[in-house]
């Protein structure tokens, strides 16, 4: 029964055009970045200088994996939260706005079960979006760049080089971790969506929450407090691209993210349970 109901939620979600906005924008953004990198000299020369300045043979690392990975940084920081919160904010609020929620709740289904179904559909969407991001990136980059080693550089944070096989493993693991970020931001928007608000309001609230956290985390004077901010724990996926993965730090953040997710779900479920559903 749960499977049938979940399948229905997925039909509802994936039959909507707006669900695919994120996929489409990733596709566009990644291809534009790839083409600029391929057909202009400046960005490639900068990357080569960084590599050669550190004693590496640049040609070995200008690869599909490297291009796919450096595209990830801005997209995962800026676009991913936007598209997952767009869907998360829609899940309950859109149904309430359009009146279909009243149709559903005239059925003998508990509100808690309905929320769990909707949240699970949202989580599946988040994983699908992150998977698409990873596959699109490496797929399109492969059209223009060779399959060689992976080079990752985040100024002040990360400098890693891997051969192609290890690079692919780290790239895949980074996406797995990124899915926890997508799922958490979706869960945050979902929580707001359970209140009596418009879908756009739920999305904007979630995005604002994430960005405000990010801003506060990056205020130099707040450095000592940064582990209190959600954004500090959201971006653990970048650690999967480290030469040596700090598993303790990942474990710590994952457990905190689990706590955040359960809290969001509990707040959302309580608000939804107490709400009057009216036309």
């Amino acid at each position: 029964m749960f499977y049938l109901q979940l399948r229905n939620e997925l039909w509802k979600l994936f039959a909507k055009t707006r669900t695919y906005i994120g996929f489409l924008m990733f596709l566009l953004a990644q291809n534009v970045i790839i083409l600029i990198f391929r057909f202009t000299n400046g960005p490639r020369a900068n990357m080569m200088r960084t590599l050669e300045g550190n004693g590496y043979l640049a040609r070995e690392f200008i690869s599909a994996l490297t291009v796919a990975t450096f595209m990830l940084l801005p997209i995962a920081y800026m676009l991913l939260p936007l598209y997952v919160s767009l869907v998360g904010g829609d899940l309950v609020a859109k149904e309430a706005e359009e009146g279909t929620l009243r149709m559903i709740l005239s059925r003998p289904i508990s509100r808690a079960r309905l929320l769990l179904l909707e949240w699970t559909a949202g989580a599946i969407f988040s994983f699908a979006l992150v998977t698409a991001l990873g596959l699109f990136g490496v797929g399109f980059a492969s059209l223009w760049f060779p399959w060689k080693g992976l080079f990752v550089f985040i100024p002040g944070e990360l400098f890693s080089v891997f051969d192609a096989a290890a690079g692919w493993r780290h790239y895949a693991a980074a996406h797995l971790m990124m899915a926890t970020k997508a799922c958490t931001v979706m869960g945050l928007a979902f929580m707001f969506s359970c209140f009596n608000v418009k879908p756009a309001a739920a999305t904007i609230l979630a995005i604002s929450f994430v960005f405000v956290n990010f801003i506060m985390q990056n205020i130099p004077y707040f450095r000592d407090l940064q582990h209190w901010f959600l954004s500090y724990h959201l971006n653990i996926w970048t650690f999967m691209l480290s030469q040596t993965i700090p598993w303790w730090r990942i474990g710590e953040s994952l457990s905190i993210l689990l706590g955040f997710n359960l809290t969001f779900l509990a707040i959302g479920a309580t608000a939804f349970q107490l709400r009057d559903i009216k036309s």
Partner: protein
């Protein structure tokens, strides 16, 4: 089938439903009548567990909706004023989705219901291509899928053209006749209620101001319409003679017990007054309703 006891609902300071008591037995077509904002939809919301009562008890099919909502709604179908669906999906898919919230529903049952409401051939089209009437039929189909014993209709005639209203009325009668459903409908359209319901309740400003059968309302009253040159003078005379106990609207008189219209006419003619018309007035639901809500 439905029992509401001391039911109240407030939204902040505004009392939407105030101490409502109602009993709808099995097999009845019951109409809840009231103007917009009278509290009908809130009442239906509480019957379906969508709105939490501030006070009181709602029993549907013998179960308390607040405490055991799932059991209470097992054999209930509902249709709302503007049926909303997933427009980007087909009618069939919508029915599949909505029915699975109740219980796994075999394809044959969906097919059967689609045939019953007359949507065969269009079930695979996207709902956004449906006319208003087709959407109303799809709404009926989704309500019938769980093989309900009770059907709740919230303003079913809203937004329908005269032909659609006629069709809806026929369908309600057919549902009652062929499937033996108990039907609870709310409406602000007097004609809709008058033509299909066996019993009604009238709500005004959140309170029930009447509950009874339509026959009770339509019983010939002692009001008589009288057309004379000087109604006030005639009424005064008839009062003095104790033939009339009340008059209203410059044309109606209420006869005293055991007084016939012949006595009235004779007395007026004896006094030299010409009587152009005298006719017993059958109270319509509209008269009754307006009288109730104006009190």
């Amino acid at each position: 089938m439905i029992r509401l006891a001391g039911l109240s609902k407030s939204f902040g300071d505004r009392v939407a439903v105030d101490d409502l008591n109602l009993h709808v037995p099995r097999g009845e077509i019951f109409g809840l009548l009231g103007h917009n904002g009278a509290g009908k939809s809130t009442t239906i919301g509480m019957m379906l567990g969508q709105v939490w009562p501030t006070k009181g008890e709602v029993l549907v099919c013998g179960c308390d909706v607040t405490a055991r909502r799932q059991q209470a709604l097992q054999k209930v179908g509902a249709i709302f004023e503007t049926p909303m669906f997933y427009d980007y999906l087909s009618g069939w898919r919508n029915l599949e989705i909505l029915s699975h919230y109740s219980a796994p529903t075999p394809r044959e049952r969906i097919r059967e219901v689609i045939d019953w409401v007359g949507l065969t051939g269009r079930e695979k089209s996207k709902v956004r291509t449906y006319s208003h009437g087709m959407r109303a039929r799809l709404a009926l189909a989704q309500a019938l899928l769980p093989q309900p014993e009770l059907l709740i209709l919230d303003e079913p005639g809203d937004g329908l053209d005269p032909e659609g209203i006629h069709e809806m009325r026929q369908t309600i009668r057919r549902l009652h006749r062929e499937l033996g459903l108990t039907i609870f409908l709310s409406s602000h359209l007097l004609s809709e209620v008058e033509q299909v319901c066996t019993r009604i309740a009238v709500m005004n400003q959140g309170r029930k101001v009447f509950e009874g059968s339509l026959d009770q309302i339509k019983q010939p009253q002692s009001w008589v319409q009288l057309r004379v040159d000087d109604f006030a003078k005639a009424a005064l005379l008839l009062r003095q003679e104790k033939l009339v106990v009340e008059e209203r609207d410059g044309k109606f008189i209420a006869l005293a017990p055991n007084v016939g219209t012949d006595q009235v006419v004779r007395r007026l003619v004896e006094q030299g007054m010409a009587v152009y018309e005298i006719v017993r007035h059958q109270q319509t639901l509209e008269d009754f309703y307006l009288d109730l809500v104006r009190r």
